[in-house]
Each structure stands twice: as C-alpha cells, then as structure tokens.
C-alpha cells in the first residue's frame, strides 16, 4: 500500500518448520517490500519468535517445507552468518551473555565482517571507537558498555539497547525486532523507537514481533499480521492492532 512498485525484499511461501519433532510453523506466507513496516502479533507460543529464528538460521530448527527468498537469494540455503552479511538482522528477545568478550571487540568484528562483505572499508579500533560512540549517543547509551563483556550483567533494557545499537551499526536491509519493547521503560522505549524510526529508509524494512500494541504507538506499522498456532491467520492495518488490544486474540483465533 505504501509503495506498490517497491521491490520485494522478502518472500516467504508456505514455510513450515519444527524443533525436536514438534511442528511450530505450519505454512507461513509473507511478503515484505522495501520501505515497509510489518508487525506480527499473537499469543505466547504461537510461533512468532520461531519464525524470526528460522529465517535467521538458528540450527535447532528444521525447515520441513516452503521457501524464503531474500533480495533474490534463497535464504534457507545460506548459513546464518551469510544471511546476516546479506542484510538480514534479528534483534533477539533474549540476547545471550558472552562472558570474557568485550562488547567493543564484538561490535567491531561484526561491523567489519558485514562491511567487508559489502566491499566497504573496515575500521581500525580507534576509528571504530569514534564511530560507535556517535551511534550510542542516538540511543542514549553510556560508553561504559563498550568495555563490558557482551550483554553480561546488562539489565533487560540495556540488552535491548545493545541489540538496536548493533542494528544501527550493521544497517541491515531487513530487521526482525523480537519483543524489543519488553524490558524497556517508557522513556527508554521512546528513545529506542526514535532510533528505529530514524533508521527506516525507502530501501529497508522492519518486521516487529510483539505481544502488545504499545510499541506500535511509537513505530507505526503498515501491516499487522496475527499469528496463531503456527499460521498467519489475519492481516490488516494499524487498526487491527488496536482491535486486538480491546478484544484479545481469542477473537481472531476463534
């Protein structure tokens, strides 16, 4: 609707996936065009997080059928790091802690790897330090987080900011933001949403995965999809999110 002529960034067709023999995704279809913001909502356990992890290539999940074409490439054939280099990003619901690895070292390696893949110049530690500090200002993050181990001892909100910082550094074509609002207080949510909005261009796109309508007050979606038991059962515009807020998921699922 936003721009009917924009090209398809992601085309997912009939995607099914399972973990440990249990089928979680049961035939998902989704098309995301450049410049769009999508929201996937749904109750706990409906498969929202699984969907984003399957697309990012988490090894615990097995794709049973279907396809996912990202920017003209068959996403499911690529190892996870290639997907990231191709411009896919996942902001994790629960980012893991990596003791002993300094955040700045991790961020720089990620940045340089992805930049290198795009044929762009890598940054040395000093150049990177200046660069990353600018990005951190936008997120109102204390530079002290650079010297700490990746996510170690970070509060829930600090972890989420660190995820968005990574997104700001890697400049993905398509980012899945999985429950990015959880753990953020209202001021932090405003700051984080502000940076997410500022990073949206006509060439990239977001898929927001969320329980609640709250985040969508700050980042306005073009499409809202409802997931239930591994399927996208309803699609609408922003009004659908508000309706879900008042009527609950049972109304859609029934």
């Amino acid at each position: 609707m936003k721009n009917a002529n924009a090209k398809n960034l992601l085309e997912v067709r009939n995607l099914s996936a399972r973990i440990g023999g249990v089928e979680i995704l049961k035939g998902i279809d989704l098309v995301v065009k450049a410049g769009e913001v999508h929201a996937i909502m749904g109750p706990n356990g409906s498969g929202k997080s699984t969907f984003s992890k399957v697309l990012a290539g988490h090894p615990a999940y097995e794709v049973v059928s279907g396809e996912a074409i990202f920017d003209g490439r068959n996403l499911l054939e690529l190892p996870p790091e290639e997907r990231a280099r191709a411009g896919l990003f996942l902001s994790f619901q629960y980012p893991v802690e990596i003791p002993g690895v300094a955040n700045t070292q991790f961020l720089r390696l990620a940045y340089n790897t992805v930049q290198g893949g795009r044929g762009k110049d890598e940054l040395d530690p000093l150049e990177f330090d200046d660069f990353v500090r600018e990005k951190m200002k936008l997120l109102d993050m204390d530079p002290g987080f650079l010297d700490r181990s990746v996510n170690e001892g970070f509060s829930g909100g600090e972890k989420k900011r660190n995820e968005i910082l990574q997104m700001a550094l890697l400049e993905p074509r398509l980012a899945f933001l999985d429950e990015t609002d959880s753990g953020l207080d209202i001021d932090a949510l405003r700051v984080v949403a502000g940076s997410v909005n500022s990073l949206l261009t006509p060439d990239n796109a977001y898929v927001l995965v969320t329980h609640y309508q709250r985040l969508l007050n700050y980042i306005e979606p073009d499409y809202v999809h409802v997931m239930d038991r591994g399927r996208l059962v309803k699609t609408g515009d922003k009004a659908l999110a508000l309706e879900l807020e008042t009527r609950g998921y049972d109304w859609v699922a029934a």
Binding site: G57, E81, R85, L109, Q166
Partner: protein
C-alpha cells in the same frame, strides 16, 4: 553443530616430524649400572653419582601414585631408554659445529638458535632428547654475572651452587617421578641471578624429545639471589609416535629476600591421535621456594599437549610477606587427560597466594584441576584467592575440580571461586547472526576465557600461546 565444532578443534599437530640423526643411546632398562653409565658419560663428580644412586634406591621402594584422575596402562620402566644424545657428543666450540640436521630441526620448530636471528631479548637453552645442544647469549648474560647454561655444564663449572641447591626444594624422596628423575636426569637448564641483578632478557629453555623409546628426564634449577629478578620460559614439542614416551622432569626454583622469579611454560608435547594412541606422559614436579622475605614466585602455564598431564607447579611461602602465584590454561581434546593444578603452602607471616586456573575440555577428554592451599600455624595474616573456571566444548568431555583447603591459623583468609560454562549453540548463533563465522566465534570466546592468564605471559610468548590455542582449537585467532 557439534560436528562443525569438532572439525574446528581437530587441527593436525604440526611438530610431529622425526629428525633422522645418529644417536648415542644407552641400552634399554634401568639399573644401578644404567645410572653409573649416565653419570660416567656426563663425566660427573662422585657426589652427584651418590645423589642419583640414593634417589634410585629410594625409588625402588616407592609405588606409582594412583590418586590422579587419569588412567593409563602400567608403565614398564625396564622398556625405556634412559639416555639418548645426538652424535657427536664432543663439546662444541660454537654453533657452527652443531649438526646441520639439528639446526634445521629447531629452525623448523621456530626456535632461535642463532643469536643474530633470535627473538630480540630472549636467551635460549636448547635441549634435544637427553642433552643440551646450545645456549645463546651466554656471554652477554655473564657480563652482569648471570649464569645460564645447561645443567651438565653447571655441574662442572659451578659445582658449589648446584650442590647447594639441587634437591633442596624437591628432595630425591619427594614422590615417585621426582625420585626417578633424580636418579636418571640427563640434562636441563641452570640459571643463577646474582644479588641485585635484574635479568636484562627473557631466559628460555626449549625441550625436544626425538627418540621413540627414550624418556626425557630433565632437571631445571633457578636460583634468584637477594633483590634479583628473572623471567623464564619453557617450551616443548615431540614427534608423533604411536607409542607413549615418558617425560618426568623436575624444576626447582629458589627465591631469596626480595627476589622474584616468573616461570612460564607453553607445553605442546605430542598429545596422541584422536583415538588416544601415542603421545607423551607428562609427569612433572615443579616447585618454587620463596625462601627470603618479600620474595615472589609466579608460575604461568599453558598446557595444550601430552596424552596425560600430571603436574602441580607449587610454591612454598617460607619467607614472611612472600607471594606465590599460579596462572594456568589447560586445554584437552580427543582422549587427552589432564590432572593439573598447584599447591600453595603458606609457612611465613603475611604470605599471599593467588590461583587462576582455566580448564578447556573438548572431544572426549578429561580435564581436572587439583589444588591444595595450606595455611600453617605460623602464617599469621596469610591470604589466598583461588579461581577455577572450566569451559566445555561439546558434550562428551569432562571437567572436574578438586580444591583442598587446609587452614591451621585463625587469621588467614582463603577465598575460592569456581565456575563451569559451556560454549553453547545459542552463543555461537548470536555471533553468526551478526555475520561472524563459527570459527571466529569460538576463537573469540576462548580468548576471552583465557585472557586473565595470557596477560601474565611475557609479550613474545603471549602471541605464540594464543596462536597455539588457535591451532589446537581452530584455524585462526581473531
């Protein structure tokens, strides 16, 4: 995922070649005659032969320790060659007379034997099977009064020093392998830093086992006089054989008042193949005596090789205010077994010790930390801090911690921290989802894990050690 991880950690051993060189070898087996032969070949004084024989007679009454958390078939001590030296064994006047084959061997191993080509600021004593081949920078060190030579030379040139200190920290009767070593040791390094001298360069010994049936029994003795300082590094490799070779060394350190000895080891003996065939049995006794007040001894070890490692570099903190430190990274893969740690024996007042141990287990290996912190009744105000961390790669390996703490003084403070972690699928996926491949991810996690120990290594060797871990665990270190 575990298959990919396993590939990363299954890098071939690159020091496994054999040097074809004519050797002067003693007949297989051990008896008083063998010991007399060794002593005779080395043209030793009577007192040293007595030292050996006394040790041997005591050894005969001892049994092998069975308490380590390792298992191996019984060693046939009559099936080992106790002396093997590359010919010619005439005393060399300069490096030009060294067999070119030997020079090539060490060049291949990256050990600098020519001073002009040497690593800046590192003097090396090079030991091949049972004998010292050469010691670099001897002259330069002698200018400031430092003695750095092979043990054989020291016995002849500085008998009063050797006689005074040999066996003073590790007595001939100390344990089964120390007694065996005392009976049959063939060479090793001797180092003496006179009063008030700060050694101007890193001292280093490089050990190479070449002969298939030989054991290696070297003996290192370092004495630091009052207010002196020395930093010492030991490196070791061996060819790949499908049999096991025994390495039973003894290292003794003595630090007098206000002296400091820093002893670092990068151990890369052949570890056996993935099925556990071959490899070195590394049964070593290392102990430092902080004899003087305010003295300090610091052990840093990076143990990556050997089929079995049994090793507890220890400190006896005798002098008041003396300090003992132990920093260790032990990596085991395939079927390697390591039972390693330290003993900190606090005798003097206000003595302090610090233990940082990092164990990494992969494959089906077995990695144990074993440590003793003992605070004696006189050790008022003694303090110890221990931290033992284990990291598991894959799900078929083992990590154990056996910390013993014995406190006989109420004013002592002893702290022990331990953790076990596993490189998990989710950690690796997190890296990958940011474009970083698994190999770099593992390398980064491991380097982060061992950071506290690696910062203790002398600069030149921190890089080498980091590369070695990288080789053992994957292709490169980022």
């Amino acid at each position: 995922m575990s298959a990919v991880l396993q590939n990363l950690i299954d890098q071939p051993y690159k020091h496994g070649f054999v040097t074809e060189i004519e050797a002067d070898t003693a007949p297989r087996g051990l008896s008083e005659d063998t010991i007399r032969l060794i002593s005779h070949k080395k043209n030793e004084p009577e007192w040293l032969l007595d030292f050996r024989l006394k040790a041997y007679r005591h050894w005969l009454t001892m049994t092998e320790p069975t308490w380590p958390n390792v298992s191996y078939p019984k060693i046939d001590f009559q099936d080992i060659i106790y002396y093997s030296a590359p010919k010619p064994k005439t005393k060399l006047q300069s490096l030009d007379e060294v067999d070119p084959e030997l020079l090539r061997t060490f060049a291949k191993l990256g050990v600098p034997m020519h001073e002009q080509k040497a690593l800046a600021g590192v003097a090396v004593d090079v030991i091949f099977d049972s004998v010292s081949v050469t010691t670099t920078y001897k002259q330069k060190l002698a200018e400031v009064g430092i003695i750095f030579c092979s043990m054989s030379e020291a016995v002849h040139d500085h008998p009063e020093l050797v006689r005074k200190y040999l066996g003073s920290v590790v007595p001939t009767t100390d344990n089964f392998y120390a007694a065996l070593n005392s009976a049959v040791f063939t060479d090793g390094s001797f180092c003496y830093i006179p009063r008030g001298v700060r050694c101007p360069m890193e001292l280093s010994t490089y050990f190479r086992i070449n002969t298939q049936e030989s054991g290696q029994f070297e003996r290192t003795l370092i004495v630091a006089e009052e207010r002196s300082y020395v930093s010492y590094l030991e490196g070791c490799t061996a060819p790949k054989f499908d049999t096991n070779q025994l390495h039973a060394a003894v290292v003794e350190l003595v630090a007098l008042d206000d002296a400091e000895i820093k002893y670092s080891t990068v151990q890369n003996w052949y570890a056996g193949d993935e099925n556990g065939v071959g490899g070195i049995y590394n049964f070593v006794t290392k102990r430092g005596l902080c004899k003087g007040i305010n003295s300090k001894i610091s052990w840093t070890q990076v143990e990556t090789g050997s089929a079995i490692t049994w090793k507890y570099p220890s400190c006896i903190l005798l002098g008041d205010n003396s300090v003992g430190e132990f920093y260790s990274v032990a990596l085991t893969n395939h079927r390697q077994q390591a039972d390693t740690g330290t003993k900190m024996i606090h005798v003097g007042r206000n003595t302090r010790s610090r233990i940082i141990s990092k164990g990494i287990s992969a494959g089906t290996s077995n990695n144990s930390y074993r440590g003793l912190v003992k605070i004696g009744p006189r050790a008022d105000g003694a303090r110890n801090f221990s931290q033992c961390d284990s990291m598991l790669i894959g799900s078929a390996c083992n990590a154990s911690t056996f910390p013993y703490i014995q406190v006989d003084n109420n004013s002592a403070k002893v702290e022990h921290e331990a953790s076990t972690s596993k490189i998990g699928e989710d950690q690796l996926f997190y890296f990958q989802s940011r474009g970083i491949d698994m190999e770099q991810a593992v390398s980064m996690i491991i380097n982060g894990f061992v950071k506290d120990v690696f910062t203790q290594l002398p600069m030149e060797f921190a890089v080498e050690a980091s590369n070695l871990l990288g080789l053992k665990l994957e292709g490169s270190v980022g």
